[in-house]
């Protein structure tokens, strides 16, 4: 099988497995039991991992709060910021139509608590119209939440500019970095970002852990999503999963060291794949073609066929129609619809995510199988349409 769904999840790097292994196998300590050696050792490992995560995004270790993943981090950032400021007059929460479902669901949940969610449209290129953002910010706004890179179409948002606009209006900026971390250079302090969500399993770390960056200067204040033993400075209770934290740290360390060379290589594989497909799929069209995007992402329409049929016809390829969370849905992707695609165009769109462990041979296999499947499906479609 050729795995080309690296935006859904990524293969855990063998170096990450090796780093986690002793913590699964040999050390029982609870990292919060700092009174005995086993606990202190676990605590030290967790802190070393925290420093690696911080280093990847230009933050300090004390700005990193571990969570179970990016979904929880997004919930904590958005609900936490809103609930902490519940007594202020700022009620507006601004996000974009192409955000991850968990961001949209979080602002939706907050509507029931008296907040005002504003979902901004995007351009055909998947970009945020800065004038639309600025206009929305005329009403006192608590928080703007815009992802760094989109999970379906790979489009990158200009966080530095968005941060400047949000801060000029007195709003905080949260960004979902799940897809961007380890793929593009990030510097939370230089980019002036208040909150940022990370996921380990999107960057060749383990599933089950993520983090929220919470700015210290000036201090970003949050209410905890859930309380308990008071771990993570009261922002996230629950025993920290030491092995997963260690694996996350190692994944970030590898990403930081390898990112530039790796992304160049992945982008060239992506270009090779797209060129190979274009040559044999007439009318193949990239979604949001003019936008800056992640090096490994293709979101493209295969005219006249349903993407689900293409996937079924290529059982040896792991590819998807869009977000994994909604893979089983038959409703069109909210991201593609936001770009202005018709339901038929959305249904003909395939997402391909190239990652660290893909080789040129994988790409050639994918080209051969997708083109053969397309050739088999397209005439049937045309005949059906003409009949």
């Amino acid at each position: 099988m050729v795995y080309l769904d690296n935006q859904a999840t990524t293969q855990c790097d063998p170096r990450v497995l090796a780093a986690m292994w002793p913590w699964f196998a040999d050390h029982p300590g609870n990292p919060h039991s700092t009174e005995h050696q086993a606990g202190r050792r676990a605590a030290d490992a967790v802190e070393a991992a925290r420093a690696e995560i911080a280093a990847l995004i230009g933050a300090t270790p004390n700005e990193i709060i571990f969570t179970s993943g990016a979904t929880e981090a997004n919930n904590l950032a958005i609900k936490g910021a809103a609930r902490f400021a519940a007594a202020t007059e700022r009620r507006r929460l601004i996000t974009a139509a192409t955000e991850h479902k968990c961001v949209l669901a979080s602002v939706h949940d907050l509507a029931a608590e008296g907040f005002e969610p504003i979902i901004l449209p995007v351009t055909e290129a998947g970009a945020l119209d800065l004038e639309v953002l600025t206009a929305a910010l005329h009403t006192p706004t608590l928080l703007v939440s815009i992802m760094a890179a989109n999970n379906e179409i790979g489009v990158l948002h200009d966080l530095t500019t968005i941060a400047a606009r949000a801060h000029a209006a007195g709003a905080h900026l949260h960004t979902d970095l799940a897809q961007a971390a380890g793929k593009i250079p990030l510097d939370m302090h230089a980019q002036d970002i208040d909150l940022a969500s990370l996921s380990a399993h999107k960057l060749h770390g383990p599933k089950g852990i993520g983090a929220l960056y919470v700015r210290r200067r000036p201090r970003m204040r949050l209410a905890a999503l859930f309380s308990g033993g008071g771990q993570e400075r009261g922002l996230r209770s629950g025993t920290l999963p030491t092995p997963l934290a260690v694996g996350f740290g190692e994944a970030c360390r590898i990403a930081r060291l390898d990112m530039n060379a790796e992304q160049t290589r992945i982008a060239s594989l992506r270009d090779r794949l797209y060129a190979g497909l274009s040559a044999r799929v007439p009318g193949l069209a990239m979604n949001a073609p003019t936008a800056p995007r992640l090096g490994g992402n293709i979101s493209a329409r295969f005219p006249g066929v349903r993407a689900l049929d293409l996937i079924a016809a290529c059982p040896d390829l792991a590819i998807s129609t869009g977000s994994a969370c909604t893979s089983a849905d038959i409703t069109p992707s909210h991201v593609l619809t936001a770009l202005g695609l018709t339901p038929a165009e959305a249904a003909s769109s395939l997402r391909i995510g190239i990652g660290r462990f893909n080789s040129p041979a994988d790409i050639d296999t994918a080209i051969a199988q997708l083109c053969a499947a397309y050739a088999a499906l397209a005439p049937a479609r045309q005949a059906a349409a003409e009949a």
Binding site: Y3, N30, P206, F226, S237, T239, P243, P315
Partner: protein, 404 residues
């Protein structure tokens, strides 16, 4: 002391060592690269592991797979249940509940416990009668003392008054039988790493037909009840661990021997109700709990003073204070045997513990007369006279099956 390299871990209520079965399941699932929500072959392989794990965890607690909601751990499952079920209901929480439960209901009515650590059922009944629609939160087994609440009896009272019952079974699962129907729970919280699975996974178990809004909103995972990509390797390890765990009855003789030796050295056992087979909460009057933990740590033995979550802070045990043992709260340590504890581990503990107690006694002779055990108990208002008689305590400490 001289053999500092050998580390003896007797803090399993903070975290159990990983079981080999859990480790094997983890290894296998770590190499599965798919997202269980993806429809391609890699995703379906991940989905199979997830659903097999769901069925296994369900079987272990007498629940259908559809009634298992995987999450990040015990804290999250407790909070998710309380957050979802408490609106419109009076919250009644046991006085010895875990901080995660207490913090989720800061305005809750606190249900008192007896001096043996068990719930005061009469107080529960009058609280239910006064409360109107209520949510009651009780732990199956206490994390500091191991004491078991009479959950089935409490459930009968709850349901007679139309109240819902959430049971925190984090410490009980894998050590004594835990069954949704036998307990009469509406929701039940489980944690993987407390039963020999990996940290980073837990589950909320729902009574059939109960619907819960999500605490963490997301992409519709876990039937819309918990967003986020499931923590697959940890969940696979969780299922393997709960399947392998069975119960911890084999630890009772070890624990009882440890406890008898501690009592002979001057310790007082806190929490004499029916208990988990692996836990002993030992107070040694005159030595601060923190000093005891450090002394034992230097001897290579890991125990704790109260819950791990609050280990960093040096506060007296709230659990013991709630039991009317305030006088002992600053002097009590928790010894909790892991599933793989050996007789040699217990021997080493006894040696170090007795040395610590004797040293104290030597120092104590030069100092003003130390309070006698019976004096300490008297001032704590205790009535169980047999506490200093090893046989009586060990008898009371025998694990009791959850027929209560």
């Amino acid at each position: 002391m001289q053999e500092k390299t050998k580390e003896i871990y007797l803090d399993s209520n903070a975290s159990e060592p990983m079981r080999p079965e859990a480790r094997d399941a983890l290894v296998q699932s770590l190499t599965i690269m798919g997202n269980p929500a993806s429809i391609h072959a890699a995703g379906r392989a991940a989905r199979r592991v997830l659903e097999d794990a769901r069925a296994t965890v369900g079987r272990a607690v007498g629940a259908a797979p559809s009634e298992i909601v995987f999450c990040s751990g015990g804290t999250e499952s407790n909070v998710a249940a309380i957050t979802a079920l408490s609106p419109g209901r009076t919250l009644l929480i046991g006085a010895t509940e875990h901080d995660a439960v207490r913090a989720a209901g800061p305005c809750a009515t606190i249900l008192p416990v007896h001096q043996d650590g068990t719930l005061d059922l009469a107080a529960l009944e009058s609280a239910l009668a006064a409360a109107g629609p209520a949510l009651v939160c009780l732990m199956r087994a206490n994390n500091e003392t191991g004491v078991l609440h009479p959950i089935a009896a409490a459930a009968a009272l709850c349901h007679a008054h139309g109240a819902l019952l959430h049971v925190d079974a984090v410490q009980a699962a894998g050590r004594i039988p835990v069954d949704m129907a036998a307990l009469g729970a509406d929701t039940l919280a489980l944690s993987a790493h407390k039963l020999g699975g990996p940290k980073g996974a837990g589950a909320l178990v729902l009574k059939p037909g109960l619907h819960l809004p999500a605490l963490i909103a997301g992409g519709g995972q876990e039937r819309g009840r918990r967003g986020g990509t499931p923590a697959l390797p940890a969940i696979a390890g969780f299922a393997a661990a709960i399947q392998a765990a069975g119960d911890a009855a084999h630890l009772a003789p070890l624990r009882d021997r440890l406890e008898r030796a501690a009592i002979d050295a001057g310790a007082i056992v806190c929490g004499t109700g029916p208990r988990l087979p692996n836990t002993s909460c030992l107070a040694l009057p005159g030595i601060a709990a923190h000093t005891q933990v450090i002394t034992l740590d230097l001897a290579g033995i890991a125990v704790s003073a109260g819950a791990a979550c609050s280990s960093g802070k040096i506060t007296e045990s709230r659990v013991l204070t709630a039991m009317g043992l305030a006088d002992l709260a600053a002097n009590a340590i928790r010894v909790s045997l892991p599933w793989n504890a050996t007789a040699a581990d217990v021997d080493a503990f006894i040696e170090a513990y007795c040395a610590m107690a004797q040293k104290k006694a030597r120092v104590g002779r030069a100092a003003p007369p130390k309070p006698s055990v019976s004096h300490t108990l008297g001032s704590a208002g205790l009535s169980h006279g047999g506490i200093s008689a090893a046989g009586t305590v060990a008898g009371a400490a025998r694990p009791t099956q959850p027929s209560s």
